[in-house]
Structures are given as C-alpha cells and as structure tokens.
Symmetry: C2
C-alpha cells in the first residue's frame, strides 16, 4: 500500500494518528536543525517535518537531499503545527516523519510547479505533463470532467440516450475540410473523419430513438485559429416530435442545471432576441448582456442638420459609456484611434459628453444644438456623467464596429464579470447568407435547417429574407450552442439543395442516404450542438479554452511530439498503396 | 406542440383526458365499422380507435388509408378498452381519435418492424435506421447508454476524472495496425489514430492526475473478425500510487456496482485465480465459473497400466459431465467426433460412465480396473450418473481442447445461464510469450507491464517464467477487462524494451516521449481497460455485441453506405499531395 491518506486530507482530528502518504516533493526548507518538506498530490499539500530533536539523524540527512518533484512515500505521525497556516486546508497539522522511501527521482523541472509559473507557453506545452501538475491547469481538467458529467446526468435524467456514432465514415466528394483515412483492407479507398455527427443523429431520429445525445469528437482539416483545433468536442443533441419551443425549453433546462449545480446560481427564463433585434440592439448575434450599453439609433434625430457624415450614412448609432464624461481629451483621442484601427475599421467617431450639470460637450457642437444632443442622450439612454460614442456608415459594418467598441469599453470598465452569467437565446436567424465571392447563397447553419413556417415560397423570390427555425444559445458574449429544427420532408430537402446550388446528382451523392431514409417515415425533429470546451471555459470564467484540453496544440498546430503529424515510412505507404507527390 | 403524452404512458388514470400523441403507425386492423391503429414511439404502443358510431366518417376513411410506418399526430380522448390487453402496459385504455394529422408518409418498410422480424441480416444492416425501431435493437442501445452512464457515475463518485486524449496523434514507425491520416496543413506528414490511449494515460499519471478514466474510441486497421471492429470503444482507466491489490479492489467495485444497479444482484468478493491455476483447473485464462466441471489431472493415477496413449502423454486430464452416464453410444460417438473436429483438434477421447449402481463402464476397460476408474472419478469430482471425458497429449493443446469441450457441454446442458453472473480475476499472467515464428519473446500484455517484484533478474535467465503484475477481469467466460501495474522507472523500461528486441533507437523513436516523462518524477501507477461493447453484451445476457453498436459493420467490413470507405477524387488527392499506387 502506498498511502492511507491523500495530501489534502489531514486535519486536527487526525492528530496522533500514524499515516502513510505518497506524493511529490513540492518545496523543501532546510533550517539546519529542522527540515520542512511540502508533499503534494492532486488533492493538496501536507507539510512534513524532520528535526534534530525528534528525528533520526540519518532521516534528516536523507530528507535534506530530496530534490524538487521527487516522488516519495513517508510514514509518520500527525502532529499539531507550532505556527498554523490558515490558508492551507491542512495548515493546522504536519507529519513528523519516521520513514521515507524514494519512489522515483526527478530531474529539475524546466519551470516551477506553482500557480504562477515562470514557464513560457512553449515550454509549458512541451512539458504538458508537468504543466498539468500545476493547480490552475489541473483544476481546469477536473472542472471540465465535472461539467461533462453534469451534462450527461441532466440529459440522461431527461431521457436522452447517448449513442456512439461512427468515426470512420463514408467520404463524400466536396468534403473539403474532411480528414481522410486510407483503408488498408480496401485498396484505394478512404474513410473520412466526421466534421459532426449531423446526418447520423438525424438517422437516429428516423430510427425512433426520440432523444439522442453524445459528447463526441469532431474533425476539421483547416487552418488553426486561436480557439480552433483540428479535433474538437461537441455536445451533440437531437429530439423528435419537437418544435423550436420544445428544443429551447429542453436546453435552457440544461444550462440552468449547469449554472445551478456548478455555481449554485438560480436563473430565471432566458431572454430571447430575434437575430434582427440582436443586431439592432447590440450589433452582434452573440451579445454580451451582462451589462447595458445598448445601441441607440440616431438616424431620425441626427440628419436634420448640415453634418454630411451623418446625412450620407446608412446608419448613425451610438452607445452611452457610464462615467465617460470624465474622460480626458487624450483618452477620447485614444478611443477614436482604437475604433480606427484596421481590426475595427471605423472611419471616425463622434462623441458627446453628458456633463453632470446637464450641459453637453460634443465633437459636433458646431452642427447640433443642446436640444439635439439631449435627444441623442435619450435615444442611447445616456445619463449625466456618461459619454456617448457614435459611429456611422453602412449598417452591417457600423454595427460590427460599435459592437467591438461596446465590448472593449465594457472590458475596461470591468463590466464583463467572470462570476456573472447572462444566457440568452438568439432566434430566427436568416436561412441563407449571400456570398459575394461565389455569388451564391449558402446555408447559414447547414443545409438541413428548415425555413420558418410559410416562408418556403419566399425562397424563390427573396432568398435573403427567409428566416430559419434556427437558434443560438449565447452566454456572456459567446455562442455556446447552436441548432435548428430540421427539414424532415424529402421534397423540401430537395428544394433546399437546389436553392443552395447543388445539382440533383451532387445532392444524391452527398446526402442520398439521408434522403432515402426520409422516405421511410421521418418524424419532425430538431436539435442543438454545444462546443464543450467553449462552454467549459465560459462556465469556468476563462477566456481561453486551451487549458481545458489535456493535450492542446500550440499555435503552429504542433504539440508535445505526441499529436503532431509525422512522416511515415516507405513500407507503410506501399502497404496503403499510396505515393507522396511533393 | 406535437404531443403531450408518449405512446407508453397512458393508463386507467388518464381516462376521459384529452391527449395529443405522435408516433408511427405500427399496425392497422380494419373491421369495416371500426378501425384500430397501434401507434408506436420509443416508449411504447397505444391503441387508437376510430368507429362508425363515435367518429366522423371522413376521419374513419382517413384512418383506413394510413400506411405502415406513417408518422402521424392524433388528438383524442382516453377511454377504457372493451377488451383489455394485460400484456401491454397501456392495454387498459385506448384513444378515441377526434383529429389526425399525417406528419410524414412512409414507403412500405423492407422488413417488418417487429420483435421477430422477417428481415435478414443484410437487409437489417442496409436499413439500420428501420432496424433501430425494433424493440430488441432499440432496447440494446438504451441498455448500452445506461451501462456507460453507470460506469461514469461510479468512477466519478470514486474521484476518477474523465480526460479526453487526442485522436490525431503522432504516427510512429512500425505502427503496423495504425490508421494514418494525411495532414493537409503539413505536406507529406501523417497523423495516426490511436490503438489505445495507453501512453497518454501514463502521461496523465506523471502529470499527477491520480485517477483517470475515459470512455474512448480506439482504432485498428486489421482484418475484421466476428466481434472485432476497426473502431471499438474502451473504458480506459489508470490510477497512481497503487499496487495490484488497489486496482483489483477499485474495479471489482465497478463491476459490483454495475451488477447491483443494472440487475439488482449483490455479489460477494470476486474469486481470484492465478493464470497457472486457471489453466490447470479450466484450461482457459478466461474460465466460465457459472458451473463446475473442473479439470481433474489424471497423470499420476492413469500411467501405471499398459495404455500407451496415456503413458506417452504429457498430460492426461478429464472432466465430469453431470448426468452423462445416460448418454447413448451414439451420443458419445458424436462427442468424440466433436473433439476430433479440426477446430478443436483432439486425437480422440476416453470416457468413463459412472453408473448409478456404483459400477463403471469405460472405453479403456481392458487396461484399467474399477479401482483405477474410481480414482479417476474422485479426481474429476464425478458422481454416480456422470460421464468422465478424458483427453490427453501435449499440455497446452490438451487443456485448450478440454476447455472447448467443457464449454460446449455446459452450453448443451443449459449451465451457461444468461441471467447468472460469475465474475473473477485471473492474475499473475506470464510477462512474455514466446513466438516460435520470429523466435522472439513478445509482451503478453504490452511493453509497459511490470514484472512481479523480484523477478527482474529472471528476465536474463528464464524469460518465459517471469510473471507480470497483470490481471484480467473475467465474466461468464469472457475477458471483459485487462490491465497491469506499469513500469514507472526509466531504466527498467529500457531493460524491458531490450528484452523485447527493440534497439535503443527503436525504443527511443516509438516511446521516447514517455521515457523522457519518466525522468521528471513518475509515480507508481497501473490501470485497466474494458471493452465497452463486450461488457454491455455480457451484462445484457447476449452473445454478440453487434446490436449494441448503432452503426455496425457487416462481415465484409462494409456497412450501410455511411461508414464504408470510398474512393476520393483526384482533386482531393492532389490537395493532400498523395497519389494512388494501385
């Protein structure tokens, strides 16, 4: 037996007990006549003590020579500490060691195993197994496991069945972002790795499984962006005999369960915004509503003067920044420069200071009266002491720019609180979006999404205006889940493929199997998918998902030797009947 | 809203309620003046009734035209049935329909959606989404989900953390059975799909995660056998600071939890057999101990006469078949022919009938006395009325043959009961096995398995005799899990690689990352892995695991179009810098 207690367990009640502990040497303080060792395991740290009076001298000598991160086992008696450490759960006691066994030696770690480490990102990646010993990373992995377990508990209790769908699937033409897998047993043939189990879960609905979920890896062979990985994990769900309302209720329940069981937060009904409302009020389809600063549209009240910038703009829109009237000229100039950065792209910014005395001071004072500015303040909800920031131009671009400014200012003002959670639904997304490059409409969600009832005809006349039975679950400015009610009728699905520019042959070769299945009694169905790591990161109050992944990639997509691609040898290529063509 | 009740829900208490149901038309009986429709969903079947007296005539006409597997929604009133069906949970009531909506039509299914279907295997595979509508298949999927959930609950409650390890991993030379995945982003380079997360979980132990588990897909590019799939699911577990005893206790707890929570069966401590004992007593390292019929070795008591077959044999061994003294000459001849089949491979069989009157009748009466045979009966535990079957020859082969006979006879005698569960541990497996073809020793488990304490030296002198800290969990004659205490010392690991015939360079290139990690303070650790589908099948009293997999392969490894490999087009090959070399 290596231990009968963990290093996070001992308390006053254990005093005088003989215990057996194992763990890593976290820290060693040698005061000559006494040596203290902090022994660490996953569960905590326990202080060991060796001293001249009470310990065998050879033991003291042995302790003195322990290195950082040595793996040791000790036997000893729990005693009360002379100077207690109230910050440590085990801080009331220490273990007076009578026996010590070195289980494994350790080289000096390349960075310190502390909450605040001196290791840079690359080093931490390379020695990921050492980074995981640090509390912040370890706790994130534990937290991720807990969230996944709570998801499963809730969905199982609600009657969802977890079904594993295949990873080695049929490859289809135009599977541009598919990873492919040559099959040794079938010469010249390839499997694909699924980008999502979308068609499988729809087949399970045709199969009558009624409520399905799966926490599942998905694969995309594409450029690595900051929070994208070639493999990522999805909470994938589908229900039969449901309308949008049923799906929203079911998964609002899931997120409510998580907030309740993880943060002990009771949440009321989630607000619902249409896509159009969200764009109008926040300039974003994933608004952060932990704070206000809603958009005020000023078109009607800012176009009656000689200010050509506003008069020629499609949209004039502002937000009120709490306390911003105090900003110095320099600070405001910096804000203007911030919105003019290429990443944001505004041409400029008009501002209005709403002074405490009720007067206004603006960058367009020569065009507008105080009465004009008072109306702007009303439209943006600005109060005395606030600053109104106004952008103008083409509608979509201007909203995106002002949304960026809103988020930046909220961040600076500390309004994006990590321990506050503001979920909402965004619904009624456009079914299609126009791609100016290919001059074609693409499915905004995916080609299986159904249009809103009664809008099928609109597809012929005004495709861009068609709204979909599609919804996103947004949490703190992040899209954590998205889904739709699917098409379950073969003919409507065929119509949809036609509008998306598929020839009947293309539709057949890529999705024929699903369309065949629809002929045998497909129920109405719909679902949702969540990005597990993003959900976990946001629930954990983090901005990056990297630490939640045990073996993450670094920015170049290469990692700690274990999950980087490598050349394979000639013999293997030959066996696979492949040649490289470099 | 599509329904306010499921089709499995309505009871006497619902009589007179207005309800909304949706589901599939399971069956239709048209008696002219009355039409009954069985409406089916995942949860059950509810009888709908339409009749001339109480229903609108147009409604009756509409009902009459419904086809099998049509998806419909009905509104109606729950009424008491005239003739109740006690076999159906909903059999006391029916729904008098007032409105009917056809949600989707259906082609006639190619086989009947009944517990006993008329569909052959290939047809059921091709239309898997229809097969899933049948109770036996659907219930298996639900059962699988339940088992996986119970596994997770137990392990989470015991402090195990589920960590997802990567699927796109570094490919290593000699990864003969690896699927490889060409990377679009890294020309000429390949990922491999993991055959198991073995090295990752060991790294997590080095990382201090202490208790890890994962229900995870594994991949092997090899010939498809009856219960092998190119992708299969493993319950993968690892613990730090453990000896074999700790691991056995932890996972005995898991299986006990499953038996308790799934079958309400309390099980005592699991028996433990060493590999040598198991081979000696049952001729198998995965004995079915739901029944006796243990081997009795007869060498000492069968070699003192002139019977050369026994005198020249390395092993003479028998089993007692309960009630077998009644077998006719013809039945016994059939048994002898059975053991002589090439699949079993015995040269012949000696038998002894233990008659009810205490006398013996054997096929070797001219060589042996009644006193001899009485000793054989004692050694095999045969009682009056039993038949002793005796095989002889080279030890290993003879044991395997007699084990096959034991299992076959138990099957015929109904001793392998589906609702009885007899788990046991087999421990102390040989560390290495000799491959006569390559004339080399191979790791029986894998190269990370540690030898028994004190046996490291034996590696140099008698490698075949070294026993390992390796164990299998056996249930009803199936190995459901296997694991070992790992080597955690870099030098011992290097020694092991050398004994397995790896050059230092090969060891470095394949396992260098793990050996590097061992230098930074690796704790003692060990673990186990279970085949999920086999576990589920055996817990479910099934012999085949096929139905537990939502999208199984058929025998040729090809399936319902969705997970078969296919050719990919030239453009895709070009983009991957690959050429086919057929």
């Amino acid at each position: 037996m290596y231990r009968n207690h963990t290093c996070g367990e001992l308390r006053q009640a254990h005093i005088n007990k003989e215990v057996l502990l194992s763990g890593w040497v976290h820290k060693l303080r040698d005061k000559g006549f006494v040596v203290w060792v902090d022994l660490r395991d996953r569960y905590g740290i326990t202080q060991l003590v060796f001293d001249e009076e009470r310990s065998d001298i050879s033991l003291l000598e042995k302790a003195r020579k322990l290195g950082r991160e040595y793996v040791i086992q000790v036997k000893g008696k729990v005693i009360e500490r002379a100077s207690k450490n109230p910050k440590m759960p085990t801080g009331d006691v220490e273990v007076l060691v009578s026996e010590i066994t070195i289980l494994n030696k350790a080289l000096l770690p390349p960075f310190t195993i502390e909450d605040q480490t001196d290791g840079g990102d690359d080093l931490r990646m390379k020695y990921r197994y050492l980074d995981i010993r640090r509390n912040p990373v370890k706790n994130n992995l534990i937290f991720r496991s807990k969230v996944a377990m709570e998801v499963r508990k809730y969905l199982s209790d609600q009657g969802f069945i977890e079904v594993e769908t295949p990873y080695l699937i049929k490859s289809t033409p135009e599977g541009a972002r598919d990873f492919v897998v040559p099959s040794r047993m079938n010469e010249g043939q390839f499997y694909a790795l699924p980008q999502s189990p979308q068609t499988f879960k729809q087949l399970l609905m045709v199969g009558g499984l009624d409520k399905y979920f799966q926490i599942v890896k998905c694969f995309r062979d594409e450029d690595l962006r900051a929070d994208r990985q070639p493999e990522f994990t999805q909470i994938d769900c589908e229900m039969a005999f449901v309308e949008q309302e049923d799906v929203l209720n079911a998964f609002e329940g899931l997120v409510r369960h998580l907030l309740q069981n993880i943060h002990n937060i009771e949440s009321g009904p989630f607000p619902r915004l249409t896509y159009d409302e969200a764009m109008q009020r926040y300039g974003s389809d994933k608004p952060d509503i932990r704070f206000g600063m809603e958009f005020g549209e000023l078109n009607a009240i800012a176009r009656h003067r000689d200010f050509q910038v506003f008069n020629s703009a499609e949209l004039v829109v502002g937000i009120a920044v709490p306390g911003g009237a105090e900003y110095s000229r320099k600070e405001i100039d910096a804000l203007i420069n911030w919105v003019k950065r290429p990443q944001v792209g505004a041409k400029g910014m008009v501002y209005v200071k709403c002074n405490e005395d009720g007067s206004f001071k603006s960058s367009v004072d020569k065009f507008y009266t105080s009465e004009d500015l008072a109306k702007w303040a009303e439209a943006t909800g600005a109060e005395a002491g606030d600053l109104i920031c106004i952008l103008s131009g083409e509608t979509d671009a201007t909203r995106t720019q002002l949304s960026a400014l809103r988020m930046e200012l909220a961040e600076r003002l500390g309004l994006r609180k990590a321990d506050e959670f503001a979920p909402l639904w965004v619904v009624d997304f456009p079914l299609l979006e126009f791609d100016p490059e290919t001059e074609r409409y693409h499915a905004m969600h995916h080609p299986f999404t159904s249009p809103k009832p009664g809008q099928l005809e609109l597809l012929e006349t005004d495709p861009g205006a068609v709204r979909a039975n599609a919804y996103d679950l947004v949490l703190n400015g992040n899209e954590i889940g998205g889904g739709s009610i699917r098409i379950h009728d073969k003919d409507i699905q065929a119509t949809m493929f036609r509008h998306l520019g598929f020839t009947p042959e293309e539709a057949r070769s890529q999705f024929g199997f699903l369309m065949d299945a629809f002929q045998y009694g497909a129920p109405p169905h719909g679902g949702i998918a969540f990005g597990l790591d993003r959900l976990v990161a946001i629930l954990g109050g983090q901005e990056t998902i990297r630490d939640f992944i045990a073996f993450p990639k670094n920015n170049s997509g290469r990692d700690v030797m274990i999950d980087a691609p490598s050349p394979i040898d000639e013999a293997q290529l030959e066996e696979l009947n492949l040649k490289l063509d470099l």
